[in-house]
Amino acid sequence: MNGFAAKNVLRYVLSITIVCIFIFPIAWFALTSIKPVSAVFNKDEVVVFDFKPTFENYQVTVLGGKKADTESGSSIGMGTSGSGAYDGRGSIVSSLIVAISSTFMATLISLLAAYALSRLNFRGSQGYMQWILSQRFLPPIAIIIPLVFIFRDLGLRDTHFGLVIAHTLINIPIALLILKSFFDDVPIEIDQAAMIDGATRFQCFYMVVVPMIKGGIAATAVLCFIFSWTEFLLSLFLTSSIRTIPVKITTFVTSTGSEWGYISALGTAAIVPGFIFILLVQNHLVRGLTMGAVKD
């Protein structure tokens, strides 16, 4: 019995240690964001807790405040471009607009297609699914160069709307496959009963079946939001003045040095929405990440 207890303790200790290792980079980043410059760039020793916390980095990057020039003595790229270059408010707004709009668009139109693929037996539905799946596996680099030209000709380059379309594009295959798996969970007898009662196919869709998979739709939307929020390559190629947070943050690395205080503050702020959302969809996370192939 004693060996049994020891085994249990060992399991707890090991599990907690491993989870701590995986949380550490985030914790270290968040800690860096409230350190004064002198503590971040200390070349003699790594400062862990021995510093006076400051929220100046958040004031500059998230609230767009001016950099107070109290920390003189730091040699890293101060004052060369002013603190305006580190104002992340525009990028936060851009990220929100793009993520919310593309989530809405991708979920809405995928919902229609997913219902048809789940309910209407038509020739070529298998082939259509394969095509959607191949879109998920398409490397973004293969479409991005022509997309830059197409967007330029349509006047969509460097616009929020253009980026919304691009993010909708990458979210459609994922949303469609997940939503189809949720529709497949609803027995087809429900549709048949509704239509015997006189509902049209479309009424049956939005008045009966869609309300039954509300939870699944919410989980799909959350995942789409996260994919758009974290997307980097398309945003980098398609925009130059509108910057989403992941792209904006890379501009804080300059040839004269990296502004680690600002980077960690905006970076930490960028992680928060994802954290809240992922804790909300824990129940459907596996299904979402495997695009409906594994049901939990």
Partner: protein, 297 residues
């Protein structure tokens, strides 16, 4: 009830798939399929850097691709990156899933915490590791200095032999939780009886893992490897943010090389060709994998 619908042509009625599929299909054709064809068309043009004129010469870029050493280096880096990261994520993911697969108090919270790295934007992940790798104040570098495993003269990302490992570790940190989650779902779905029978017959935990757990989870493992593998083959964010393909071309993956050609030499025709090579590599590898392991969605 049919009075309203019957005025419409048959393919516009809600029993026909057309109106349901039209929005998704049109968007995917215009912004997904058309660009790939556009890419192919671009790759058939030769760009003259002096006059900035393009002439139709289908063989030019493709023969250049075959004889370009940087392409083959990039293919090698891409394969090394994908294989090493995939094996590490798979093994670590399975081990951690076995460890966290418990109904005891607290394990639910640990499993939830384990998913957090998944939502960090990869560009931010790159930044986190850049900060920790920094050769003068980075916490990982300093820890390795004090263990005499690393010298300040050879920073992790600035040295050819370690740079790829530095990037891979960031990838492993971010995506091992993905494997953990999928393996946990697989473990939870396993039937209890075979394990009870095996333990009555005197099988050890290790034996029943290799003879029962692994074979019964082969389908879900194949699926996880496919999804993760494809993302690994087109890796860009970590490389771009952390090393920008450097030092030299030590961490240049195919996607990163296409990006470099696009941004630095503005040779769009050749950049498209390299990008299409990435697409071909991903498609061939994925198709082979799906055929061999019979993965089904």
């Amino acid at each position: 009830m049919k009075t309203q619908g019957s005025r419409l042509p048959r393919w516009l009625r809600s029993e026909h798939p057309f109106p349901w599929l039209f929005p998704v299909t049109s968007l995917l054709i215009v912004f997904g399929l058309y660009p790939v064809l556009y890419s192919l068309w671009l790759s058939f043009y030769k760009r003259n850097p002096a006059t900035r004129k393009e002439t139709f010469l289908p063989s030019h870029n493709w023969s250049k691709l075959i004889s370009d050493d940087r392409v083959w280096d990039a293919v090698q880096v891409t394969f090394s990156y994908a294989c090493i990261a995939l094996i590490l994520q798979l093994v670590l993911g399975m081990l951690i899933a076995l460890l966290l697969d418990s109904d005891k108090k607290g394990f639910g919270i640990l499993r939830a915490l384990m998913t957090l790295p998944l939502v960090v934007p990869p560009a931010v992940t790159g930044m986190m590791f850049l900060l920790m790798y920094d050769s003068s104040f980075g916490v990982i570098s300093n820890a390795l200095y004090s263990l005499n495993l690393l010298s300040p003269d050879a920073p992790i990302l600035g040295t050819g032999s370690t740079a790829l490992w530095g990037v891979i570790i960031a990838d492993v940190w971010q995506w091992t939780p993905f494997m953990v989650l999928i393996m946990l779902a697989g473990l939870r779905a396993l039937p209890k009886e075979p394990f009870e029978a095996a333990s009555i017959d005197g099988a050890t935990a290790v034996q029943s893992f290799f003879h029962l757990t692994l074979p019964m989870m082969s389908k879900i493992i194949a699926l996880a490897v496919l999804i993760r593998g494809i993302d690994l083959f087109r890796v860009y964010d970590y490389v771009k943010v952390m090393t920008d393909s450097g030092p030299g071309t030590a961490t240049e993956t195919l996607t990163a090389y296409a990006g470099t050609v696009y941004f630095k030499s503005a040779n769009f025709a050749y950049a498209s060709t390299v990008a299409l090579a990435t697409l071909i590599l991903v498609l061939v590898t994925a198709t082979l994998f799906i055929k061999i392991f019979k993965v089904r969605f």
